[in-house]
């Protein structure tokens, strides 16, 4: 008797919270497929017009393209720089790992608004004109993706026995470079891809840096989203749902890959 009571209590808590979390998403979705939804509780009719309108808007396509370009470039840059760096740290300078663990917390600990104050002032007047261009965003995205990327890849490094693996590769006649590409990299693949997908959905949602450092001079998806706030709510809902579908896809891919990875 008491058991049944407590079980329904737990169900109430869990489903209640899930419902609360789900309401804004569901409401946005319904709004995006309703023809008009004025001062009534339920929408008047259903339509996919807002989505077709959105996908025919060249400004949306351009903004989406810019966001993809920045996020993918930042992630490629991160992978190219971070993986060898972690390899060097783990293989040659294991003592540096402690320092690295502190350093990678910085992008977490320092609010983006604070970093952007300094970034804006340093690079606004410098000889390299990067404020207002995608390049400054790629640089900052490198740093904010760093904690995710570093942790995920470092975990993979800890899981494999790097020293033994390298010794074996050397014994078989491989150079360190060969061993890195042919032995170490394949072992990192899963952890790397999971962290890439996760960072991608995280970067796609970034607003602070793009708003303060670049703004409308290079309209990314989030800036476009913000600038569209005055237009029809149905249109922005369709926009939010489209954005969200991509986030879901990438988060799902990340968790799929992660599940297959040896933990």
């Amino acid at each position: 008797m008491q058991n049944a009571n407590s079980s329904s209590f737990h169900k109430f808590i869990v489903y209640g919270t899930v419902t609360l979390l789900f309401i804004p998403i569901l409401a946005t979705f319904i709004y995006s497929i309703s023809s008009s939804w004025g001062a009534t509780i339920l929408p008047d009719g259903l339509t996919f017009d807002w989505y077709s309108q959105l996908w025919q808007d060249p400004r949306f396509i351009a903004a989406f393209g810019r966001s993809l370009f920045i996020c993918i470039s930042a992630l490629i840059l991160s992978s190219v720089l971070i993986i060898p760096a972690i390899f060097v740290v783990f293989y040659y300078f294991p003592k540096l790992n402690g320092l690295m663990n502190v350093l990678i917390l910085l992008p977490f600990a320092v609010p983006p608004v604070v970093s952007s104050v300094g970034l804006l002032q340093i690079y606004a007047d410098s000889s390299i004109q990067i404020v207002g261009t995608p390049w400054i965003l790629i640089g900052t995205y490198f740093t904010i993706a760093l904690p995710f990327m570093y942790r995920a890849i470092a975990n993979s490094f800890e899981a494999i026995n790097l020293a033994d693996l390298m010794d074996a590769a050397h014994l078989l006649g491989a150079s360190t470079t060969q061993a890195f590409f042919m032995v170490v990299l394949p072992n990192l693949k899963k952890g790397l891809f999971a962290s890439l997908f996760l960072s991608f959905s995280f970067l796609l949602g970034e607003f602070v840096f793009s708003n303060i450092l670049v703004g409308t001079r290079y309209e990314t998806l989030q800036i476009y989203l913000y600038n569209m706030r005055q237009t029809s709510g149905h249109f922005t809902s369709a926009l939010v749902m489209t954005y969200f579908a991509f986030i879901f896809l990438f988060t799902w891919l990340a968790s799929r890959i992660n599940r297959g990875a040896p933990s």
Binding site: S7, H10, V18, P24, Y31, V117, L120, F207, R229, T251
Partner: protein, 297 residues
């Protein structure tokens, strides 16, 4: 003869080996260079700029920027609003998340996985898109506002004031809190509850004297991350109120990228105070964790 030659060859081989080791470590260190350079350019240098320039007022070294902050009721209000929003939303979110996670432990594992995946996904629902969703359901003509008005539960709901923002903050804090707390609840063994029940403890006694002390490091640690997360939040507030609600991040941003008064050095000083505040909260938190059950062992 043979035995004598062994140490000789050993000596001759180890010496250049040392040199080669130093040389082989030089090249790998070069690989770290581009990484370190980029990290310096985009993380360390801006922080140094903020720190140094917070002390520069009209091209001389002074504390004027800091004095200005403590003279400005407007900036202090930004701090108060931010702190109120952060602490309240973190408290509510951590309570919701803790109840949610502890109840979720009673679910079948496949269903639990599904629910956790769903929560993970909502963790990405933040910033501008979240603000839009809230306008749609809780704005002046939002579906939920109208529904609640119709049944006379509320007269009106101002999403663009502190309570609306609080709801928004709680929404984006709960998934994060769940993510951080979920693994921690594995530390609770089901046997403990059975044992305490057998000894005559009531449910609240189990939670008060066993579960909470065990969970306190995780709860405190999560609480601190939530506060930092909320203090640094900018996109959601900005998108919801177009920068009209006075929180500290909006103040900082408007001083560097607004249209009217650009005072980057004042912004730097506010930034330094914000970081100090976060550091202070973290230190208090560390001291509390130090006194908790786990650390004592």
């Amino acid at each position: 003869m043979n035995t004598a030659s062994v140490p000789v060859t050993q000596v001759t081989t180890t010496k250049p080996n040392h040199k080669r080791l130093a040389l082989t470590k030089f090249k790998p260190a070069l690989i770290l260079l581009p990484f370190a350079l980029l990290f310096f350019m985009f993380q360390i240098a801006p922080m140094l700029w903020v720190l140094v320039n917070s002390f520069i007022y009209e091209e001389t070294f002074s504390f004027e920027n800091y004095l200005e902050i403590f003279d400005s009721a407007f900036i202090l209000q930004g701090f108060t609003n931010s702190l109120w929003l952060s602490i309240t939303s973190s408290l509510v979110a951590i309570i919701i998340a803790a109840c949610f996670v502890s109840s979720l432990r009673r679910f079948d594992s496949w269903l639990r996985d599904w629910i956790i995946s769903f929560t993970n996904m909502t963790a990405n629902f933040s910033g501008v898109p979240l603000a839009f969703a809230f306008i749609i359901i809780l704005g002046f003509n939002g579906a939920l506002t109208l529904l609640l008005k119709k049944y006379g539960i509320i007269d009106d709901f101002n999403l663009y004031g502190q309570w609306g923002l609080l709801a928004l903050y709680i929404y984006f804090q709960v998934p994060l809190a769940v993510l951080l707390l979920y693994p921690a609840f594995d530390a609770l063994s089901d046997d403990w509850q059975a044992a305490s029940a057998l000894l005559g403890a009531k449910t609240w006694q189990f939670w008060r004297y066993i579960a909470l002390p065990v969970l306190s490091p995780a709860l405190l640690g999560t609480f601190i991350i939530l506060i930092a997360n909320a203090m640094g939040a900018y996109a959601s507030v900005y998108a919801l109120t177009s920068g009209n609600y006075n929180v500290i991040t909006v103040r900082i941003a408007s001083l560097v990228s607004g249209d009217i008064f650009l005072e980057p050095n004042l912004a730097a000083a506010i930034s330094v105070l914000l970081i100090l505040l976060l550091a202070f909260i973290t230190i208090i938190n560390q001291m509390l964790i130090g006194r908790s059950y786990h650390a004592k062992r």
